[in-house]
Symmetry: C2
Subunit: 104 residues, 2 copies
């Protein structure tokens, strides 16, 4: 579908992508984390897209198995949600994923 | 107003009250915290009340200055949100607040 194609284009053309909701504290947490790491993600706020928001959220679920926000991609690779991203950071793996993605 | 009165009744007749949203991870975190502390809060899910949900959320803002969820009361006293509650817990103050409230 057109939406699936646009997600694929988005996550492969941008090193870090966050599908988010403006009023969600978990989305805010992951945005702040990337900011602290000196990274500027592409943020797509699903609550600001009118009826396309829920459609996009369902497409993401089909593509990644994850319906919830925040939904994070690094270097085109599906990372997961806020907790997953924070875990990777505590394991020390997030920074290497980010530097690899920025070289692509 | 009738809603203001119902909030006051609710928070004074129940030792622990959480105004919450079912799909919100911060609301989930604070519910799990009280569960771990052996407390059974009264939980009001604002997203399950139809049009009354947003009304109640605005009434809470008028009463407490806080619009966001989760919105927590202990012993009729406004505690704050998830972060505030977790902070009190780390300071060791949450348990005493809870035991005081359960004696009322
Ligand atoms: N463990 C997940 C939790 C994700 C989650 O439950 N997200 C909620 C918002 S905090 C959600 O997407 N709820 C459904 C919705 O908002 O449509 C994470 O760390 O990202
Ligand atoms: N620091 C606050 C954050 C509260 C917050 O931003 N809550 C969000 C949901 S996570 C909210 O209420 N957004 C507006 C809404 O859902 O109506 C807390 O710890 O509770
Ligand atoms: S909506 Fe509250 S943490 Fe996401």
């Amino acid at each position: 579908s057109r939406l699936i194609e646009s997600v694929n284009n988005t996550v492969f053309q941008n090193p870090v992508v966050i599908y988010s909701k403006t009023w969600c504290s978990y989305s805010l947490e992951v945005k702040s984390l990337f900011k602290r790491l000196g990274v500027e993600p592409l943020v797509i706020e699903l609550d600001q897209l009118g009826p396309q928001g829920p459609q996009l959220q369902r497409v993401l679920e089909r593509l990644t198995g994850q319906y919830t926000v925040p939904n994070i991609f690094i270097g085109g690779k599906h990372i997961g949600g806020c907790t997953d991203t924070v875990k990777l950071h505590h394991k020390g793996e997030l920074k290497s994923l980010l530097s690899e993605a920025s070289k692509q």
